[in-house]
Amino acid sequence: EAGVTQSPTHLIKTRGQQVTLRCSPISGHTSVYWYQQALGLGLQFLLWYDEGEERNRGNFPPRFSGRQFPNYSSELNVNALELEDSALYLCASSLVPGNSPLHFGNGTRLTVT
């Protein structure tokens, strides 16, 4: 069984630019979650999508947004990039919506210069 896949693995952007990160959940999983892992801050919950709908959102500004497609894959969009957006962005999926365990991908490392 293929795990959660994310692309790209690394990305370098300039402050003010926009970025799109992609995630494909484990086959059969309908819920997708996005977390930000900044250095020294642990993992911070960003967004939860299930069946194409946003179900929950963490304490992040509106320039962080996303969507889930009919095949349950997901995109995370970040507009007007700031230096502090530099982090590892992790996507996870779960079999039962709103219930753990979460299966994480290996993340996208975003560097904003």
């Binding site: 959660v4 819920s31 979650y33 977390y35 020294g40 801050l41 642990g42 993992l43 911070q44 919950f45 939860w48 179900r55 929950n56 963490g58 992790l90 996870a92 779960s94 919506p97 709103g98 219930n99 753990s100 365990p101 979460l102 299966h103 994480f104 991908g105 290996n106 993340g107």
Partner: protein, 108 residues
């Protein structure tokens, strides 16, 4: 607001020794407490989890101890091995609400 406090930040243990990582939470509504293990370049992987209706759960060399009254839980790694070198995160959530709140991690 950090709702799960994890300590220590880093830990060095001899091969064969016991590693202990502690977490404390504030929200009494939390009812699910997982531990994740993360190797460099990889995403976190679920190691072991506990619900508040039990005080201890053991899976192989890994044991979670849970103290509901103190709002604390800990991970014990027995007979620590070089392959256990990783970053460990505790987390907490309310079942049905997938907003996992993570500790800041312990590098073992």
């Amino acid at each position: 607001q950090q709702q799960v406090k994890q300590s220590p930040q880093s830990l060095i243990v001899q091969k064969g020794g016991i590693s202990i990582i502690n977490c404390a939470y504030e929200n009494t509504a939390f009812d699910y407490f997982p531990w994740y293990q993360q190797f460099p370049g990889k995403g976190p992987a679920l190691l072991i989890a506990i619900r508040p209706d039990v005080s201890e759960k053991k899976e192989g060399r890994f044991t979670i101890s849970f103290n509901k009254s103190a709002k604390q839980f800990s991970l014990h790694i027995m007979d620590s091995q070089p392959g256990d070198s990783a970053t460990y995160f505790c987390a907490a959530s309310i079942l049905g609400n997938e907003k996992l709140t993570f500790g800041t991690g312990t590098r073992l």
